[in-house]
Symmetry: C2
Subunit: 303 residues, 2 copies
Protein backbone atom coordinates (compact mmCIF):
# COMPACT_ATOMS: atom_id res chain seq x y z
CA UNK A 1 0.00 0.00 0.00
CA UNK A 2 0.91 3.63 -0.32
CA UNK A 3 3.30 5.61 -2.49
CA UNK A 4 7.05 5.70 -2.92
CA UNK A 5 8.51 8.94 -4.24
CA UNK A 6 12.02 9.42 -5.61
CA UNK A 7 13.27 12.97 -5.98
CA UNK A 8 15.14 15.71 -4.19
CA UNK A 9 15.24 16.94 -0.62
CA UNK A 10 16.76 20.41 -0.62
CA UNK A 11 17.58 23.46 1.36
CA UNK A 12 16.16 26.43 -0.53
CA UNK A 13 16.75 30.14 -0.37
CA UNK A 14 13.77 31.93 -1.89
CA UNK A 15 13.14 35.61 -2.48
CA UNK A 16 9.70 36.92 -3.38
CA UNK A 17 8.40 40.50 -3.37
CA UNK A 18 6.88 39.63 0.01
CA UNK A 19 9.94 38.39 1.83
CA UNK A 20 12.91 36.07 1.88
CA UNK A 21 13.42 32.63 3.36
CA UNK A 22 16.93 31.28 3.84
CA UNK A 23 18.02 27.63 3.86
CA UNK A 24 14.49 26.39 4.35
CA UNK A 25 13.22 22.88 3.70
CA UNK A 26 12.44 22.24 0.03
CA UNK A 27 12.90 19.77 -2.82
CA UNK A 28 10.49 17.88 -5.05
CA UNK A 29 10.25 14.74 -2.89
CA UNK A 30 9.71 16.85 0.22
CA UNK A 31 6.75 18.79 -1.16
CA UNK A 32 5.30 15.65 -2.71
CA UNK A 33 5.56 13.64 0.51
CA UNK A 34 4.13 16.31 2.77
CA UNK A 35 1.14 16.67 0.45
CA UNK A 36 0.52 12.97 -0.27
CA UNK A 37 0.89 12.23 3.44
CA UNK A 38 -2.53 13.77 4.07
CA UNK A 39 -4.07 10.91 2.08
CA UNK A 40 -1.88 7.81 2.26
CA UNK A 41 1.37 6.20 3.47
CA UNK A 42 4.43 7.69 1.81
CA UNK A 43 8.01 6.46 1.49
CA UNK A 44 10.60 9.04 0.54
CA UNK A 45 13.73 8.13 -1.46
CA UNK A 46 16.32 10.90 -1.72
CA UNK A 47 19.71 12.04 -0.46
CA UNK A 48 20.76 14.75 2.01
CA UNK A 49 24.13 15.93 3.34
CA UNK A 50 25.47 15.92 6.87
CA UNK A 51 24.31 19.54 7.26
CA UNK A 52 20.65 18.53 7.00
CA UNK A 53 18.89 19.77 10.15
CA UNK A 54 17.39 17.22 12.53
CA UNK A 55 14.20 19.26 12.81
CA UNK A 56 13.38 18.41 9.18
CA UNK A 57 13.92 14.72 9.87
CA UNK A 58 11.53 15.08 12.81
CA UNK A 59 9.01 16.78 10.50
CA UNK A 60 9.05 13.77 8.15
CA UNK A 61 8.71 11.46 11.14
CA UNK A 62 5.86 13.49 12.61
CA UNK A 63 3.98 12.90 9.34
CA UNK A 64 4.71 9.15 9.41
CA UNK A 65 6.70 9.49 6.21
CA UNK A 66 8.93 6.44 5.82
CA UNK A 67 12.51 7.69 5.43
CA UNK A 68 14.28 4.34 5.17
CA UNK A 69 15.19 5.44 1.63
CA UNK A 70 16.60 8.82 2.68
CA UNK A 71 20.35 8.46 2.27
CA UNK A 72 22.65 10.65 4.34
CA UNK A 73 26.00 11.42 2.69
CA UNK A 74 29.05 13.36 3.73
CA UNK A 75 28.90 16.87 2.34
CA UNK A 76 26.26 19.49 1.80
CA UNK A 77 22.61 19.04 0.99
CA UNK A 78 21.37 20.04 -2.48
CA UNK A 79 20.76 23.79 -2.43
CA UNK A 80 18.50 25.84 -4.74
CA UNK A 81 18.33 29.60 -4.70
CA UNK A 82 15.48 31.26 -6.59
CA UNK A 83 13.71 34.54 -6.98
CA UNK A 84 10.19 35.55 -8.06
CA UNK A 85 8.99 38.86 -9.46
CA UNK A 86 5.61 40.44 -8.76
CA UNK A 87 3.72 38.24 -11.17
CA UNK A 88 5.01 35.12 -9.34
CA UNK A 89 4.58 33.01 -12.45
CA UNK A 90 8.11 31.91 -13.10
CA UNK A 91 11.01 31.37 -10.73
CA UNK A 92 14.35 32.74 -11.75
CA UNK A 93 17.01 30.29 -10.63
CA UNK A 94 19.82 32.32 -9.12
CA UNK A 95 22.01 29.39 -8.12
CA UNK A 96 21.92 25.60 -7.99
CA UNK A 97 24.43 23.67 -5.89
CA UNK A 98 24.01 19.96 -6.54
CA UNK A 99 26.34 18.98 -3.66
CA UNK A 100 25.47 15.40 -2.50
CA UNK A 101 23.03 15.05 -5.40
CA UNK A 102 26.09 14.51 -7.62
CA UNK A 103 26.56 10.77 -7.76
CA UNK A 104 23.20 10.04 -6.13
CA UNK A 105 22.15 6.50 -6.82
CA UNK A 106 18.59 6.01 -5.60
CA UNK A 107 17.81 2.71 -3.92
CA UNK A 108 14.33 1.58 -3.01
CA UNK A 109 14.70 -0.08 0.39
CA UNK A 110 12.86 -3.34 0.99
CA UNK A 111 10.18 -1.49 2.98
CA UNK A 112 9.00 0.45 -0.07
CA UNK A 113 9.49 -1.91 -2.99
CA UNK A 114 5.92 -3.06 -2.51
CA UNK A 115 4.47 0.47 -2.71
CA UNK A 116 1.53 0.26 -5.08
CA UNK A 117 2.17 3.72 -6.49
CA UNK A 118 5.47 5.19 -7.56
CA UNK A 119 6.23 8.82 -8.32
CA UNK A 120 9.43 9.69 -10.14
CA UNK A 121 9.84 13.38 -9.32
CA UNK A 122 12.04 15.61 -11.40
CA UNK A 123 15.52 14.04 -11.43
CA UNK A 124 17.86 12.74 -14.13
CA UNK A 125 15.78 10.41 -16.33
CA UNK A 126 18.56 7.79 -16.14
CA UNK A 127 18.03 7.70 -12.37
CA UNK A 128 14.26 7.52 -12.90
CA UNK A 129 14.84 4.46 -15.08
CA UNK A 130 17.13 2.92 -12.45
CA UNK A 131 14.32 3.24 -9.89
CA UNK A 132 11.76 1.76 -12.28
CA UNK A 133 13.92 -1.32 -12.52
CA UNK A 134 13.99 -1.79 -8.75
CA UNK A 135 10.22 -1.51 -8.23
CA UNK A 136 8.03 -4.60 -8.07
CA UNK A 137 5.14 -4.08 -10.46
CA UNK A 138 3.50 -1.00 -8.96
CA UNK A 139 -0.14 -0.43 -9.92
CA UNK A 140 0.63 3.07 -11.13
CA UNK A 141 3.87 4.87 -12.00
CA UNK A 142 3.97 8.60 -12.71
CA UNK A 143 6.83 10.90 -13.61
CA UNK A 144 7.69 14.57 -13.78
CA UNK A 145 10.64 16.20 -15.57
CA UNK A 146 12.01 19.64 -16.44
CA UNK A 147 13.38 21.73 -19.32
CA UNK A 148 16.98 20.83 -18.42
CA UNK A 149 16.44 17.08 -19.01
CA UNK A 150 14.27 17.66 -22.09
CA UNK A 151 17.14 19.44 -23.77
CA UNK A 152 20.06 17.42 -22.35
CA UNK A 153 18.65 13.86 -22.25
CA UNK A 154 15.60 13.70 -24.53
CA UNK A 155 16.08 10.03 -25.43
CA UNK A 156 16.42 8.90 -21.81
CA UNK A 157 13.31 10.87 -20.95
CA UNK A 158 11.33 9.36 -23.82
CA UNK A 159 12.33 5.89 -22.60
CA UNK A 160 10.96 6.75 -19.16
CA UNK A 161 7.74 8.07 -20.72
CA UNK A 162 7.34 4.73 -22.50
CA UNK A 163 7.42 2.91 -19.17
CA UNK A 164 5.19 5.07 -16.98
CA UNK A 165 1.39 5.15 -16.80
CA UNK A 166 1.14 8.87 -16.27
CA UNK A 167 3.21 11.98 -16.99
CA UNK A 168 2.77 15.15 -14.96
CA UNK A 169 4.57 18.07 -16.61
CA UNK A 170 4.01 21.76 -17.11
CA UNK A 171 2.82 23.36 -20.33
CA UNK A 172 6.18 24.85 -21.28
CA UNK A 173 7.73 21.40 -20.94
CA UNK A 174 4.97 19.81 -23.04
CA UNK A 175 5.65 22.34 -25.81
CA UNK A 176 9.41 21.94 -25.53
CA UNK A 177 9.28 18.15 -25.56
CA UNK A 178 7.10 18.01 -28.68
CA UNK A 179 8.02 21.21 -30.52
CA UNK A 180 4.27 21.79 -30.82
CA UNK A 181 2.72 25.01 -29.42
CA UNK A 182 -0.85 23.67 -29.51
CA UNK A 183 -1.39 21.68 -26.29
CA UNK A 184 -4.03 19.34 -27.72
CA UNK A 185 -1.62 18.32 -30.46
CA UNK A 186 1.30 18.18 -28.00
CA UNK A 187 -0.72 15.90 -25.72
CA UNK A 188 -1.33 13.46 -28.57
CA UNK A 189 2.37 13.28 -29.32
CA UNK A 190 3.25 12.64 -25.66
CA UNK A 191 0.50 10.02 -25.24
CA UNK A 192 1.76 8.30 -28.38
CA UNK A 193 5.13 7.77 -26.64
CA UNK A 194 3.40 5.21 -24.43
CA UNK A 195 2.05 6.74 -21.23
CA UNK A 196 -1.71 6.41 -21.11
CA UNK A 197 -2.54 9.62 -19.32
CA UNK A 198 -1.02 13.08 -19.28
CA UNK A 199 -1.49 15.89 -16.78
CA UNK A 200 -0.36 19.33 -17.95
CA UNK A 201 0.16 21.91 -15.19
CA UNK A 202 -0.40 25.55 -16.13
CA UNK A 203 0.43 27.35 -12.89
CA UNK A 204 -2.12 29.99 -11.98
CA UNK A 205 -4.26 28.85 -14.93
CA UNK A 206 -4.91 25.35 -13.66
CA UNK A 207 -4.52 21.90 -15.12
CA UNK A 208 -5.46 19.91 -18.21
CA UNK A 209 -5.67 16.10 -18.12
CA UNK A 210 -5.61 14.09 -21.34
CA UNK A 211 -6.11 10.49 -22.35
CA UNK A 212 -6.66 9.31 -25.91
CA UNK A 213 -10.42 9.63 -25.33
CA UNK A 214 -10.95 12.30 -22.68
CA UNK A 215 -9.98 15.83 -21.69
CA UNK A 216 -10.56 17.40 -18.28
CA UNK A 217 -9.87 21.05 -17.45
CA UNK A 218 -9.62 22.43 -13.91
CA UNK A 219 -8.83 26.03 -12.99
CA UNK A 220 -6.38 26.95 -10.28
CA UNK A 221 -8.04 28.20 -7.12
CA UNK A 222 -8.09 32.02 -7.33
CA UNK A 223 -6.09 33.25 -4.35
CA UNK A 224 -5.79 36.75 -2.99
CA UNK A 225 -2.52 36.00 -1.26
CA UNK A 226 0.09 34.08 -3.18
CA UNK A 227 3.18 34.21 -1.09
CA UNK A 228 5.65 31.72 -2.55
CA UNK A 229 4.92 29.41 -5.52
CA UNK A 230 7.92 27.13 -4.81
CA UNK A 231 6.88 23.49 -4.70
CA UNK A 232 3.36 24.04 -6.05
CA UNK A 233 3.79 21.47 -8.84
CA UNK A 234 5.09 18.74 -6.53
CA UNK A 235 2.46 19.54 -3.91
CA UNK A 236 -0.15 19.18 -6.67
CA UNK A 237 1.32 15.82 -7.70
CA UNK A 238 1.34 14.70 -4.05
CA UNK A 239 -2.33 15.50 -3.50
CA UNK A 240 -3.26 13.99 -6.86
CA UNK A 241 -1.44 10.69 -6.34
CA UNK A 242 -2.15 10.58 -2.62
CA UNK A 243 -5.88 10.73 -3.26
CA UNK A 244 -5.63 8.10 -6.02
CA UNK A 245 -3.63 5.74 -3.81
CA UNK A 246 -6.09 6.15 -0.98
CA UNK A 247 -9.27 5.74 -3.04
CA UNK A 248 -7.89 3.12 -5.43
CA UNK A 249 -10.38 4.54 -7.94
CA UNK A 250 -8.56 4.65 -11.27
CA UNK A 251 -11.67 5.48 -13.29
CA UNK A 252 -11.87 8.79 -15.19
CA UNK A 253 -14.11 10.05 -12.38
CA UNK A 254 -11.57 9.07 -9.76
CA UNK A 255 -8.77 10.78 -11.67
CA UNK A 256 -10.82 13.96 -11.91
CA UNK A 257 -11.40 14.07 -8.18
CA UNK A 258 -7.68 13.49 -7.69
CA UNK A 259 -6.91 16.49 -9.95
CA UNK A 260 -9.04 18.68 -7.70
CA UNK A 261 -7.43 17.36 -4.52
CA UNK A 262 -4.03 18.06 -6.07
CA UNK A 263 -5.14 21.59 -6.99
CA UNK A 264 -6.44 22.16 -3.47
CA UNK A 265 -3.12 21.11 -1.94
CA UNK A 266 -1.14 23.34 -4.30
CA UNK A 267 -3.41 26.29 -3.52
CA UNK A 268 -2.65 25.95 0.18
CA UNK A 269 1.05 25.46 -0.31
CA UNK A 270 1.60 28.78 -2.09
CA UNK A 271 0.07 30.68 0.83
CA UNK A 272 3.35 30.62 2.77
CA UNK A 273 7.08 29.95 2.41
CA UNK A 274 8.54 26.45 2.25
CA UNK A 275 6.35 23.82 3.97
CA UNK A 276 4.91 26.29 6.49
CA UNK A 277 1.32 26.09 5.24
CA UNK A 278 1.44 22.29 5.00
CA UNK A 279 2.59 22.16 8.61
CA UNK A 280 -0.54 23.89 9.89
CA UNK A 281 -3.02 22.45 7.39
CA UNK A 282 -5.95 20.28 8.48
CA UNK A 283 -7.94 17.74 6.50
CA UNK A 284 -11.07 19.70 7.33
CA UNK A 285 -9.63 22.70 5.45
CA UNK A 286 -8.79 20.47 2.48
CA UNK A 287 -12.36 19.22 2.26
CA UNK A 288 -13.79 22.72 2.60
CA UNK A 289 -11.65 24.01 -0.27
CA UNK A 290 -12.59 21.01 -2.42
CA UNK A 291 -16.23 22.04 -1.96
CA UNK A 292 -15.36 25.64 -2.83
CA UNK A 293 -13.74 24.31 -6.01
CA UNK A 294 -17.04 22.69 -6.92
CA UNK A 295 -18.85 25.99 -6.47
CA UNK A 296 -16.12 27.83 -8.38
CA UNK A 297 -16.60 25.70 -11.50
CA UNK A 298 -20.20 24.51 -11.52
CA UNK A 299 -22.74 25.63 -14.11
CA UNK A 300 -26.13 24.32 -15.18
CA UNK A 301 -26.76 22.09 -18.12
CA UNK A 302 -29.00 23.37 -20.91
CA UNK A 303 -32.41 21.73 -21.06
Amino acid sequence: MGIAVVGTVALDTVETPFGRAEDVLGGSATYFSASAGFFTDVSLVAVVGDDFPEEHIRFFQSRDINIDGLQRKEGKTFHWRGRYGYDLNEAETVDTQLNVLTGFSPRLPESCRDAEFLFLANIDPDLQMQVLEQAKKPALVACDSMNFWISSKPESLKNVLKRVDLAIINEGEARQLTGEPNLVKASKIILSLGCGRLVIKRGEYGVLMFTNDTVFAAPAYPLEEVFDPTGAGDTFAGGFMGYLANSGDLSEEGYRQAIIFGSVMASFNVEDFSLERMKRLSYREIEARYRNFRYLTTFRDII
Copy 2:
Protein backbone atom coordinates in the same frame (compact mmCIF):
# COMPACT_ATOMS: atom_id res chain seq x y z
CA MET B 1 -35.83 43.78 -26.48
CA GLY B 2 -32.45 42.76 -27.75
CA ILE B 3 -29.00 44.27 -27.64
CA ALA B 4 -27.44 47.39 -29.09
CA VAL B 5 -23.67 47.29 -29.62
CA VAL B 6 -21.45 50.28 -30.30
CA GLY B 7 -17.96 49.61 -31.61
CA THR B 8 -15.96 49.20 -34.77
CA VAL B 9 -16.63 47.64 -38.14
CA ALA B 10 -13.31 47.11 -39.85
CA LEU B 11 -11.51 45.63 -42.78
CA ASP B 12 -8.67 43.53 -41.38
CA THR B 13 -5.55 42.06 -42.85
CA VAL B 14 -4.38 39.19 -40.70
CA GLU B 15 -1.34 36.96 -40.95
CA THR B 16 -1.01 33.78 -38.95
CA PRO B 17 1.44 30.90 -39.36
CA PHE B 18 -1.40 29.13 -41.19
CA GLY B 19 -2.22 31.72 -43.79
CA ARG B 20 -3.11 35.29 -44.61
CA ALA B 21 -6.44 37.03 -45.11
CA GLU B 22 -6.54 40.44 -46.78
CA ASP B 23 -9.15 43.16 -46.26
CA VAL B 24 -11.59 40.79 -44.62
CA LEU B 25 -14.58 41.73 -42.47
CA GLY B 26 -13.62 42.49 -38.87
CA GLY B 27 -14.11 44.93 -36.00
CA SER B 28 -15.40 44.59 -32.45
CA ALA B 29 -19.05 45.37 -33.23
CA THR B 30 -19.01 42.97 -36.17
CA TYR B 31 -17.78 39.99 -34.16
CA PHE B 32 -20.08 40.84 -31.28
CA SER B 33 -23.16 41.16 -33.51
CA ALA B 34 -22.56 37.99 -35.48
CA SER B 35 -22.17 36.04 -32.23
CA ALA B 36 -25.04 37.63 -30.27
CA GLY B 37 -27.30 37.27 -33.31
CA PHE B 38 -27.51 33.51 -32.65
CA PHE B 39 -29.40 34.30 -29.44
CA THR B 40 -31.27 37.60 -29.74
CA ASP B 41 -32.04 40.72 -31.83
CA VAL B 42 -28.99 42.90 -32.35
CA SER B 43 -28.61 46.52 -33.43
CA LEU B 44 -25.18 47.58 -34.63
CA VAL B 45 -23.89 51.15 -34.19
CA ALA B 46 -20.64 51.92 -36.01
CA VAL B 47 -19.16 53.71 -39.00
CA VAL B 48 -17.79 52.47 -42.34
CA GLY B 49 -16.33 54.22 -45.36
CA ASP B 50 -17.54 54.28 -48.94
CA ASP B 51 -15.18 51.39 -49.76
CA PHE B 52 -17.13 49.01 -47.51
CA PRO B 53 -18.23 46.06 -49.66
CA GLU B 54 -21.94 45.47 -50.18
CA GLU B 55 -21.50 41.76 -49.46
CA HIS B 56 -20.73 42.56 -45.81
CA ILE B 57 -23.89 44.68 -45.59
CA ARG B 58 -25.78 41.71 -47.00
CA PHE B 59 -24.19 39.47 -44.37
CA PHE B 60 -25.51 41.70 -41.57
CA GLN B 61 -28.93 41.76 -43.22
CA SER B 62 -28.93 37.99 -43.66
CA ARG B 63 -28.50 37.70 -39.89
CA ASP B 64 -31.33 40.16 -39.20
CA ILE B 65 -28.85 42.55 -37.60
CA ASN B 66 -30.38 46.03 -37.47
CA ILE B 67 -27.94 48.40 -39.22
CA ASP B 68 -29.94 51.62 -38.87
CA GLY B 69 -27.07 52.83 -36.69
CA LEU B 70 -24.33 51.94 -39.19
CA GLN B 71 -23.14 55.29 -40.55
CA ARG B 72 -21.59 55.43 -43.99
CA LYS B 73 -19.04 58.22 -44.44
CA GLU B 74 -16.91 59.40 -47.31
CA GLY B 75 -13.45 57.91 -47.08
CA LYS B 76 -11.96 54.57 -46.17
CA THR B 77 -13.21 52.07 -43.60
CA PHE B 78 -11.16 51.56 -40.41
CA HIS B 79 -8.35 49.14 -41.24
CA TRP B 80 -6.38 46.94 -38.84
CA ARG B 81 -3.38 44.88 -39.86
CA GLY B 82 -2.12 42.27 -37.43
CA ARG B 83 0.12 39.25 -37.17
CA TYR B 84 0.25 36.22 -34.88
CA GLY B 85 3.20 33.97 -34.09
CA TYR B 86 3.00 30.23 -33.51
CA ASP B 87 1.69 30.50 -29.98
CA LEU B 88 -1.27 32.60 -31.23
CA ASN B 89 -1.65 34.24 -27.85
CA GLU B 90 -1.01 37.85 -28.67
CA ALA B 91 -1.59 39.79 -31.86
CA GLU B 92 1.15 42.08 -33.02
CA THR B 93 -0.47 45.16 -34.52
CA VAL B 94 1.43 45.97 -37.70
CA ASP B 95 -0.67 48.95 -38.72
CA THR B 96 -3.85 50.76 -37.69
CA GLN B 97 -5.56 53.17 -40.08
CA LEU B 98 -8.41 54.90 -38.29
CA ASN B 99 -9.77 56.48 -41.49
CA VAL B 100 -13.51 57.26 -41.02
CA LEU B 101 -13.25 56.30 -37.35
CA THR B 102 -11.58 59.69 -36.79
CA GLY B 103 -14.38 62.03 -35.85
CA PHE B 104 -16.89 59.19 -35.39
CA SER B 105 -19.79 60.36 -33.28
CA PRO B 106 -21.99 57.37 -32.45
CA ARG B 107 -25.73 57.94 -32.55
CA LEU B 108 -28.26 55.43 -31.31
CA PRO B 109 -31.11 55.60 -33.83
CA GLU B 110 -34.66 55.59 -32.50
CA SER B 111 -35.02 51.89 -33.40
CA CYS B 112 -32.40 50.84 -30.88
CA ARG B 113 -32.73 53.30 -28.01
CA ASP B 114 -35.12 50.83 -26.39
CA ALA B 115 -32.66 47.92 -26.52
CA GLU B 116 -32.70 46.32 -23.09
CA PHE B 117 -29.01 45.49 -23.23
CA LEU B 118 -26.19 47.72 -24.35
CA PHE B 119 -22.62 46.70 -25.13
CA LEU B 120 -19.95 49.38 -25.39
CA ALA B 121 -17.23 47.58 -27.32
CA ASN B 122 -13.65 48.82 -27.29
CA ILE B 123 -13.74 52.46 -28.49
CA ASP B 124 -12.70 55.82 -26.99
CA PRO B 125 -14.25 55.93 -23.49
CA ASP B 126 -15.51 59.47 -24.22
CA LEU B 127 -17.58 58.01 -27.07
CA GLN B 128 -18.74 55.19 -24.79
CA MET B 129 -20.01 57.86 -22.38
CA GLN B 130 -21.72 59.73 -25.21
CA VAL B 131 -23.62 56.56 -26.08
CA LEU B 132 -24.55 55.92 -22.45
CA GLU B 133 -26.21 59.32 -22.39
CA GLN B 134 -28.36 58.53 -25.40
CA ALA B 135 -29.66 55.18 -24.13
CA LYS B 136 -32.98 54.96 -22.31
CA LYS B 137 -32.44 53.02 -19.09
CA PRO B 138 -31.22 49.70 -20.46
CA ALA B 139 -31.53 46.74 -18.10
CA LEU B 140 -27.85 45.92 -18.46
CA VAL B 141 -24.87 47.85 -19.80
CA ALA B 142 -21.48 46.25 -20.33
CA CYS B 143 -18.21 47.65 -21.62
CA ASP B 144 -14.86 46.52 -22.93
CA SER B 145 -11.69 48.59 -23.33
CA MET B 146 -8.01 48.20 -24.26
CA ASN B 147 -4.48 49.08 -23.13
CA PHE B 148 -4.42 52.20 -25.33
CA TRP B 149 -7.34 53.84 -23.51
CA ILE B 150 -6.16 52.67 -20.08
CA SER B 151 -2.93 54.59 -20.57
CA SER B 152 -4.25 57.56 -22.55
CA LYS B 153 -7.66 58.22 -20.94
CA PRO B 154 -7.73 56.48 -17.55
CA GLU B 155 -10.13 58.99 -15.96
CA SER B 156 -12.64 58.81 -18.81
CA LEU B 157 -12.51 55.04 -18.62
CA LYS B 158 -13.05 55.04 -14.86
CA ASN B 159 -16.10 57.25 -15.35
CA VAL B 160 -17.51 54.72 -17.79
CA LEU B 161 -16.81 51.89 -15.34
CA LYS B 162 -18.81 53.78 -12.71
CA ARG B 163 -21.83 53.82 -14.99
CA VAL B 164 -21.88 50.28 -16.35
CA ASP B 165 -23.20 47.10 -14.71
CA LEU B 166 -20.54 44.84 -16.11
CA ALA B 167 -16.97 45.15 -17.38
CA ILE B 168 -15.50 42.58 -19.77
CA ILE B 169 -11.74 43.03 -20.11
CA ASN B 170 -8.71 40.84 -20.50
CA GLU B 171 -6.28 39.98 -17.72
CA GLY B 172 -3.48 42.21 -18.95
CA GLU B 173 -5.89 45.14 -18.98
CA ALA B 174 -7.13 44.34 -15.47
CA ARG B 175 -3.53 44.37 -14.23
CA GLN B 176 -2.68 47.56 -16.14
CA LEU B 177 -5.79 49.38 -14.97
CA THR B 178 -5.17 48.59 -11.29
CA GLY B 179 -1.38 48.24 -11.10
CA GLU B 180 -2.05 44.99 -9.24
CA PRO B 181 -0.64 41.69 -10.58
CA ASN B 182 -2.90 39.51 -8.40
CA LEU B 183 -6.21 39.14 -10.27
CA VAL B 184 -8.33 38.61 -7.15
CA LYS B 185 -7.03 41.88 -5.73
CA ALA B 186 -7.32 43.60 -9.12
CA SER B 187 -10.95 42.48 -9.39
CA LYS B 188 -11.78 44.06 -6.02
CA ILE B 189 -10.30 47.36 -7.13
CA ILE B 190 -12.27 47.34 -10.39
CA LEU B 191 -15.52 46.33 -8.68
CA SER B 192 -15.00 49.15 -6.17
CA LEU B 193 -15.11 51.63 -9.08
CA GLY B 194 -18.81 50.90 -9.34
CA CYS B 195 -19.57 48.10 -11.81
CA GLY B 196 -21.19 45.18 -10.01
CA ARG B 197 -19.72 42.35 -12.04
CA LEU B 198 -16.41 41.81 -13.78
CA VAL B 199 -15.48 39.28 -16.45
CA ILE B 200 -11.77 38.77 -17.00
CA LYS B 201 -10.81 37.09 -20.28
CA ARG B 202 -7.60 35.04 -20.27
CA GLY B 203 -7.40 33.88 -23.90
CA GLU B 204 -6.56 30.19 -24.19
CA TYR B 205 -6.82 29.88 -20.39
CA GLY B 206 -10.49 30.78 -20.14
CA VAL B 207 -12.45 33.28 -18.11
CA LEU B 208 -12.91 34.41 -14.51
CA MET B 209 -16.10 36.18 -13.40
CA PHE B 210 -16.17 38.17 -10.17
CA THR B 211 -18.78 39.90 -8.06
CA ASN B 212 -18.22 41.08 -4.51
CA ASP B 213 -19.52 37.70 -3.29
CA THR B 214 -18.80 35.14 -6.00
CA VAL B 215 -16.09 33.84 -8.30
CA PHE B 216 -16.63 31.59 -11.30
CA ALA B 217 -13.85 30.05 -13.38
CA ALA B 218 -14.32 28.52 -16.83
CA PRO B 219 -11.57 27.07 -19.00
CA ALA B 220 -11.29 27.80 -22.69
CA TYR B 221 -12.36 24.90 -24.88
CA PRO B 222 -9.17 22.96 -25.77
CA LEU B 223 -8.94 23.09 -29.57
CA GLU B 224 -6.66 21.15 -31.82
CA GLU B 225 -6.94 23.71 -34.62
CA VAL B 226 -6.70 27.37 -33.70
CA PHE B 227 -6.54 29.19 -36.98
CA ASP B 228 -7.02 32.89 -36.21
CA PRO B 229 -7.74 34.33 -32.73
CA THR B 230 -8.89 37.72 -34.10
CA GLY B 231 -12.26 38.69 -32.64
CA ALA B 232 -12.35 35.95 -30.00
CA GLY B 233 -12.96 38.43 -27.16
CA ASP B 234 -15.84 40.20 -28.91
CA THR B 235 -17.31 36.91 -30.06
CA PHE B 236 -17.18 35.77 -26.43
CA ALA B 237 -18.92 38.97 -25.29
CA GLY B 238 -21.56 38.51 -28.00
CA GLY B 239 -22.42 34.97 -26.95
CA PHE B 240 -22.37 35.95 -23.28
CA MET B 241 -24.67 38.96 -23.62
CA GLY B 242 -26.77 37.37 -26.34
CA TYR B 243 -27.62 34.46 -24.10
CA LEU B 244 -28.37 36.79 -21.16
CA ALA B 245 -30.64 39.00 -23.26
CA ASN B 246 -32.49 35.98 -24.56
CA SER B 247 -32.93 34.20 -21.22
CA GLY B 248 -33.44 37.34 -19.15
CA ASP B 249 -31.94 35.31 -16.29
CA LEU B 250 -29.63 37.69 -14.41
CA SER B 251 -29.06 35.32 -11.48
CA GLU B 252 -25.53 34.03 -10.78
CA GLU B 253 -26.62 30.76 -12.38
CA GLY B 254 -27.80 32.58 -15.49
CA TYR B 255 -24.54 34.51 -15.76
CA ARG B 256 -22.56 31.28 -15.48
CA GLN B 257 -24.44 29.69 -18.33
CA ALA B 258 -23.88 32.85 -20.34
CA ILE B 259 -20.12 32.61 -19.71
CA ILE B 260 -20.14 29.11 -21.18
CA PHE B 261 -22.16 30.17 -24.23
CA GLY B 262 -19.70 33.01 -24.74
CA SER B 263 -16.78 30.58 -24.48
CA VAL B 264 -18.45 28.22 -26.94
CA MET B 265 -18.90 31.01 -29.48
CA ALA B 266 -15.28 32.16 -29.11
CA SER B 267 -14.06 28.59 -29.52
CA PHE B 268 -15.83 28.31 -32.86
CA ASN B 269 -14.72 31.71 -34.08
CA VAL B 270 -11.00 30.96 -33.81
CA GLU B 271 -11.37 27.92 -36.06
CA ASP B 272 -11.22 30.05 -39.22
CA PHE B 273 -10.29 33.52 -40.52
CA SER B 274 -12.58 36.53 -40.07
CA LEU B 275 -16.27 35.60 -39.69
CA GLU B 276 -15.96 32.44 -41.81
CA ARG B 277 -16.76 30.01 -39.01
CA MET B 278 -19.69 32.11 -37.76
CA LYS B 279 -21.11 32.07 -41.28
CA ARG B 280 -21.38 28.30 -41.36
CA LEU B 281 -22.20 27.71 -37.67
CA SER B 282 -25.49 26.13 -36.57
CA TYR B 283 -27.29 26.39 -33.25
CA ARG B 284 -27.15 22.62 -33.00
CA GLU B 285 -23.34 22.80 -32.99
CA ILE B 286 -23.46 25.47 -30.28
CA GLU B 287 -25.59 23.28 -28.03
CA ALA B 288 -23.41 20.25 -28.63
CA ARG B 289 -20.27 22.16 -27.66
CA TYR B 290 -21.97 23.53 -24.54
CA ARG B 291 -22.61 19.93 -23.48
CA ASN B 292 -18.98 19.05 -24.22
CA PHE B 293 -17.97 21.95 -21.97
CA ARG B 294 -19.98 20.36 -19.17
CA TYR B 295 -18.15 17.09 -19.64
CA LEU B 296 -14.81 18.90 -19.88
CA THR B 297 -15.21 20.49 -16.44
CA THR B 298 -17.40 18.18 -14.37
CA PHE B 299 -16.14 16.31 -11.34
CA ARG B 300 -17.84 14.53 -8.44
CA ASP B 301 -18.45 16.03 -5.06
CA ILE B 302 -16.84 14.34 -2.06
CA ILE B 303 -19.25 12.49 0.16
